[in-house]
């Protein structure tokens, strides 16, 4: 019994040490590890608000899709790894996150300008403006594969007829701002303003281009409603400070638990390491972006995770004082304290969920780590801490209770 428990504990300590050693390089890998938010590596966060046109036309979902497609296309050109472009249809907003961008000023400049669609000759001379294009839709043509169908306004149809006549057999370019979107060859003269661009390999490709072509006559202009820019070295600085804060916080909590709870304190500290690993792996699994507030939430959740241990150990101490054997005290301490722990932490969980649902950006990051932290500490306390404490008690149930921080004489 005794020897087996010692062996189990040794194996466990080694296993956790190995897990830590393996996890740290994996989780902190800049490309495949937990992604860092722009406040930790520099970058810019933009909320672009669509403004209704002068004619007072309401903004449609299609407008927002167009805007999003253009912005996404431009963002991709900036060469940012893992950019985020989201549309908020209810509030007519586009949210852009560019973490780790080298030149945020240029990025903002590029994103701000409105897209201009033009049709140009092979030399790049502008032949007609995109606002004479009425519609562009992707579809599947039975004989031609995936295509984009263009419809011009009556005036545009006339111009387009002239263009196709002049450049028959040549390639004309469809440009978004100064970039070629596609350059189809003119096969026939198109007199009625109904053209078809063929040769797309997937419907998605055709749809992407179609949306951008439609956007040429985009009625919405965008203003910057929110902008958060963090310089690269400032981000790195914040990351180091946060890691430092985490290490010192953890070290002092470790020390506190050791002094007050002795042997179970060691178990608690050990459980904290397992807890931290679980939280970080869950964050990694969810592709959650770690922000400055997220780290603050994580450090705070470490402080709260110990709560479980304290509540349980105080209960175990009480049971020992009431004359129970160590083993019985641990068993009933755990089962009694469990209800307390659940009641106490459901309330914090309610907060985390409320914050996550109603919060935005940085607050959500905080709520996520806090929420995952609470669930993970519950899990660790029931499974890990309990089992390890059983083994420890199993080594020698006669252990002096001083090791458990209890003086018997009271």
């Amino acid at each position: 019994m005794r020897r087996r428990n010692i062996l189990k504990l040794i194996v466990l300590v080694l296993a956790v040490a190995a897990a830590v050693a393996l996890s740290i390089p994996k989780l902190s890998n800049p490309t495949s590890g937990i992604p860092l938010g722009l406040d930790l590596r520099g970058g810019v966060h933009l909320v672009l608000q669509a403004q209704p046109g002068a004619n007072g036309k309401p903004i449609t979902k299609d407008d927002m899709d167009k805007a999003k497609a253009i912005i996404a296309k431009r963002v991709n050109e900036l060469g940012v790894s893992e950019p985020v472009v989201q549309a908020d249809y209810q509030k007519d907003r586009i949210i852009v996150d560019l973490a780790g961008i080298k030149d945020p000023n240029k990025a903002v400049e590029v994103l701000k300008t409105t897209a201009q669609l033009t049709i140009r000759d092979p030399k790049g001379k502008i032949l007609m403006q995109g606002d004479e294009l009425k519609d562009a839709q992707a579809s599947q043509d039975p004989s031609q594969g995936y295509v984009v169908n263009l419809t011009f306004t009556p005036a545009g149809a006339q111009k387009f007829a002239a263009i196709t006549k002049e450049y028959l057999g040549q390639r004309i370019g469809i440009y978004l701002d100064n970039r070629v979107l596609t350059d189809p060859k003119v096969n026939v003269v198109i007199p009625n303003g109904q053209a078809e661009i063929t040769g797309y390999s997937t419907l998605q490709d055709a749809a992407n281009d179609a949306v951008l072509m439609r956007s040429g006559a985009l009625p919405v202009s965008m203003t910057i409603a929110e902008k958060r820019e963090v310089g690269a070295s400032l981000g790195v600085d914040s990351l180091h400070r946060s890691i430092n804060a985490g290490i010192y916080g953890l070290a002092f909590i470790f020390l506190f638990m050791l002094v007050f709870y002795r042997l179970p304190g060691v178990v608690a500290d050990f459980s904290l390491i397992v807890y931290a690993l679980i939280v970080l792996w869950v964050l990694w699994l969810f592709h959650a972006v770690l922000t400055l507030e997220g780290i603050a939430g994580f450090i705070l959740s470490i402080g709260m995770a110990v709560d479980f241990n304290i509540i349980i150990y105080e209960r175990v101490k009480e049971e020992i004082r009431l004359g129970k054997s160590l083993r019985a005290a641990v068993e009933s301490g755990f089962s009694r304290a469990f209800i307390t722990v659940i009641d106490a932490h459901v309330t914090t969980l309610i907060t985390a969920v409320t914050l996550y649902v109603l919060g935005t950006g940085t607050i959500q990051g905080f709520a996520l780590t806090l929420g995952i932290g609470i669930l993970a500490s519950l899990f660790t306390a029931i499974t890990f801490t309990r089992t390890v404490l059983r083994w420890v008690v199993g080594i020698n149930p006669q252990t002096n209770t001083r090791w458990y921080g209890v003086r018997r004489e009271a």
């Binding site: 820019e229 600085d237 507030e293 049971e319 054997s325 009641d343 919060g359």
Partner: protein
Amino acid sequence: MGRKDVNRRTGKVGPGNGAREGNSPQARNGRTETDGRPELSVEIAQSGQSGRKDGSKVPAGSRVSGQGTVAPTPAAQGASYEQVQKMHPLYFNIVKKRYIWFALSLLVIIPGVISLFTRGLNLGIDFQGGTMLDITFNKPTTQGAITRTLDSVGLSGSVQPSNGNKEVLIRTQALDEQTRNKLLAALQSQVGPYDAGKLQEDKVSPEIGQELTHNALLALGIAMGLMLLYITIRFQFSYAISGIIALVHDVLVTLGVFSLFHWQIDAPFVAAILTIFGYSINDTVVIFDRIRENEAKMKRGDSYEDMVDKSVWQTMRRSINTVVTVLIALFSVFILGGASTKVFALAMLIGVFSGAYSSIFNASQILVEIKTRLSDSPKGKPSRARA
């Protein structure tokens, strides 16, 4: 959970441990043990303290076993009031002195609330909208130089130098990109070159700011409602009300202190207030949980006040230690963490500290007030002890 379950469970565990014989505290303390259970006499001797004059009266609530010992197993009965008092060297009757604690709380809250109404909170750009630029210049500069530069591009705002006058925090109205670039160019030419890698800029339009304020209030309302509901379900309505009053106390203390010192608040402050909300009730629940447990064990004639006082002291160590670990975590974020988490950590520090105070000194005391005022005989046992 009723105590009958507990008895049964501990009964099952009890016989299994032969190890008890050697280090049983009762044996060492010279108490007699029958059947592995403490004698009733111990129980009664102590209960004289707790309001019952007649020591010989067998409490109606306890069961008499065949062996002549009354009282359930030690774990189910828990420590007596006197034992709990002896265990804490600093013991004093917290419940009896409750009006002192209420007064102390009001002493902090009233100035804070007056300040909230007269001066309000120092709202940052996250709430009001505006642009905030944090610029680190290569050489130290002066506040005047920055203000003059702002003037030269037709802007006004607050300028706050720090870090040996090298770092400057500028707050203005929300700037469009053109004006912003003009300002940065002007700063570069009139004040000197700055480190682009350390530039931080936050711009929030007034509309977004209003949304944040609205969402914050909504989140507070929803969280409060959900907690009231949860505690009512898990405990009783009177517990829930007491807990929520303690919560409002913590939020008012934090808001009040921030208003009094006119510290600027931003979006993370909302997260801090809500976390205080969730965490401070957590503390209170730990005590309430013990009151609930002890309330179920109360016998006829037991004083509710004494029971609560006992419960508060029984959980004192937990209450303090759980808060200490969280305070350790917060202090490390406050001292070592990044600038933007400082306000968050500060608010949390105040809130968690206040939460610990209100959990120990206010919440249970309010519960006593409610319970004793609602029942006809103030010292009597409340009608609804949960089984």
